[in-house]
């Protein structure tokens, strides 16, 4: 157990885990973000009132939706990769290829979502 826990920020930033590390970071950020967003969203919808209405209007704003859809869709697509590879562990040999497929699946879906969000917001 030589795991070092007190790693400095400078050392952490120099760690080059590449693709899998970024997938891990984005997955965790998205999960944490969704937990916070959904907690506030569910509570504000249940309680209602002007504050709840204001928060739900904020969530409907196109700039907010572009960020939310990135993290939610990435979490969903990345989660499918993890689920498939974990349930059929022999596929982990192709882990690197799976990441490329993941981005190839994610980018068109997210691009289409951004396009519809923007065209709805700007076109009325």
């Amino acid at each position: 157990m030589a795991l070092k826990h007190n790693v400095s920020l400078a050392t952490a930033l120099r760690y080059k885990g590449r693709g899998p590390m970024w997938a891990f970071i984005l997955h965790r950020l998205g999960g944490l973000g969704m937990a916070i967003l959904l907690t506030v969203h569910i509570l504000s919808t249940a309680l209602g009132g002007p504050v709840g209405q204001f928060l739900n209007d904020l969530y409907m704003h196109w700039a907010f939706q572009i960020v939310v859809y990135f993290f939610v869709l990435f979490h969903a697509v990345n989660g499918l990769r993890i689920t498939l590879l974990d349930l059929w562990p022999s596929l982990w040999v192709y882990g690197r290829e799976a990441l490329w497929i993941e981005w190839a699946v994610f980018l068109p879906i997210y691009g289409l979502a951004v396009y519809t969000i923007l065209s709805t917001a700007l076109g009325g």
Partner: protein
Amino acid sequence: MAAKSRRLSLRERGLNFEMLMWLFTRLSALVMYGLILVAMVGAFLMGARTQMNMADVLRWGFLSIAGHIQNTNIPDLEPWATPFWRLTASAMLLVATAHGVHGLVVIADDYIVHPRGRRNVRALSIVFLLLMVVAGLYVVWTW
């Protein structure tokens, strides 16, 4: 290696609550894809193709409650608020909340390593889970 592990008891092979939750996280993900697919197919059958855009359909897919589509061009919200869609939304709420709260515990475990701290995190997570389920079910069934 595989032959050797078969002689170990289930407990020695690592079958405990944490392992079951590891499996639950993956299986609940598959359930959520299924629920989203059901909701999206249902939306298209109910007229989403001409009355909603893709972002609206996805929002309905994430949780199938009529409040999520009130700003679209759907003329009549009645078919979107049936017990079937409320049950679908309830299932999504329960699975997603359990998946999410367990995810928060996993993240907390990376930073809180003391056994007492981890016990507190788990106790807190159960309170949080119950609060979210009650508030969420209230919204799903009263909206």
